[in-house]
């Protein structure tokens, strides 16, 4: 059976890799688990150039 990790409080953060734009550094790849040992805030939002 395929086990899909889902995010819940008290559980391990699901790891992932993503293309990123970093101001001053340009394009890079970010793997979340590379930041283990630090406090992390992950903010999802619907889209660039929206209003709220």
């Amino acid at each position: 059976m395929l086990e899909v990790m889902t995010a819940r409080v008290g559980g391990e953060a699901p790891d992932f890799e993503a293309n990123a734009f970093v101001d001053g550094a340009g394009f890079k790849t970010v793997r979340l688990s590379e930041y283990k040992g630090r406090w992390i805030v992950l903010c999802f939002y619907p889209g660039d150039f929206t209003f709220v």
């Binding site: 995010a7 990123a20 394009f27 890079k28 992950l42 903010c43 709220v52």
Partner: protein, 132 residues
């Protein structure tokens, strides 16, 4: 506060770059200082429970992850209402304080206020220590 912040949307890194240059840099001196991640196809958002398949976007969700890589807090909103950054900062400070001291932060706690040491001596005595 010693926190790594990542913004995630389904936009490509190219769109992130243009948004930063065309708009954000004009709203905020220097633009946003944190990495803007591209969640192509909503794969990350799906795992975090914030991907809206019909709209094809990630809705507003935010997660506080501690140094052990454990999710401590999450907040998810439908799109019409924006977030309150003050509450995010309060929660991060509370979790950092609690991790350092082993104490707990009661309802409405603000940085600088006392936290509580849980234990038999505190049972029925919270009112003596916490006067919001």
């Amino acid at each position: 506060m010693d926190v790594e912040v990542f913004a995630v949307s389904t936009d490509s890194r190219f769109i992130h770059k243009i948004w930063q240059e065309a708009e954000l840099a004009k709203m905020l001196d220097g633009g946003v200082p944190f990495p803007m991640l591209s969640d192509a196809g909503g794969k990350i958002g799906t795992v975090y429970g914030v991907y809206d398949e019909e709209a094809g976007v990630d809705i507003r969700g935010r997660f506080i992850i501690d140094p052990d890589f454990v999710i401590r807090a999450m907040e998810v909103l439908t799109p019409e209402v924006g977030r309150n950054p003050d509450e995010l900062i309060r929660q991060v400070k509370a979790y950092q304080h609690v991790r350092k001291t082993g104490e707990v932060a009661p309802s409405g706690w603000q940085p600088g206020q006392p936290t509580l040491k849980p234990g038999p001596d505190l049972v029925g005595k919270v009112w003596t220590k916490w006067k919001p």
